[in-house]
């Protein structure tokens, strides 16, 4: 189960973001214009497919002077970001 809820510039991710759900997340994130906050508070899991999608969104936003801020990650997802070196290219709070 995966769901992405967009409210203003804040996107809440819920459930498991695996390779079969990446397009659902991408569609929601493509609606972010300049900058946005991604709330990971109810996200249980993310794989490389979701990481790659986030990388693409971050690149697109940076080209227009924006950025993503990622909040409320559980410790497992935070560790995956660290292993992938993504803690160096995202603002994580």
């Amino acid at each position: 189960m995966f769901e992405a809820r967009l409210a203003g510039d804040r996107l809440q991710l819920i459930g498991r973001l695996d390779a079969s759900q990446v397009e659902v997340a991408r569609e929601a994130m493509n609606r972010l214009n300049a900058s946005g906050v991604i709330d990971f508070g109810e996200l249980e899991y993310i794989s490389s497919a979701g990481l790659g999608m986030l990388l693409g969104i971050q690149k697109r936003l940076m080209e227009s002077g924006g950025t993503l801020k990622l909040i409320n990650m559980n410790r497992h997802i935070r560790e995956i970001f660290r292993m992938a070196g993504f803690d160096r290219i995202f603002v994580i709070e």
């Binding site: 498991r16 390779a19 794989s47 490389s48 497919a49 940076m62 497992h76 995956i80 992938a84 070196g85």
Partner: protein, 137 residues
């Protein structure tokens, strides 16, 4: 435990249900559940993406023995594919130079202790072995 799954990303929900049963039976903690799911998803989706040929279901086997978790994925009647062709991941590069390609296999190699690919008689078999005493994600 072993079970075969259609070679489609939409099989991931059924695969996670399968691994959840295994994790519950063995009383794995949450970090190990995450590691098992990630390793299987990355290896399975790589087979779906890169293994051309047959179109048969992919078999997944998971066992625990002597303090080691063994995960095997078996894909029958496929063309040879060299995992060494997967792009190298360079963590120290700025975002402009980072690419998503190769990230899944990079994470798998970081999590498991051994990863081997075998190809024989048009069958590809990938085996990942993890020492259960080592830190997980």
């Amino acid at each position: 435990m072993e079970k075969s799954f259609e070679r489609d990303f939409r099989s991931l929900g059924d695969i996670f249900a399968f691994t959840d049963i295994f994790v519950e039976v063995h009383g794995f903690e949450e970090s190990l559940r995450y590691a098992v799911n990630l390793v299987i998803e990355e290896l399975f989706t790589n087979m779906v993406k890169y293994n051309t040929g047959g179109g048969h279901p992919i078999e997944i086997r998971i066992t625990v023995r002597d303090g080691h978790l063994r995960i095997e994925l078996i894909d029958d009647d496929v063309d040879p594919w060299d995992p060494a062709q997967v792009p190298e991941v360079k963590l120290d590069r700025p975002i402009e130079e980072r690419r998503a390609g190769g990230l899944g296999l990079y994470l798998v190699r970081a999590i498991v202790d051994e990863l081997t690919y075998e190809y024989k008689n048009r069958q590809m078999k990938v085996t990942a072995i993890k020492n259960l005493e080592r830190q997980n994600v």
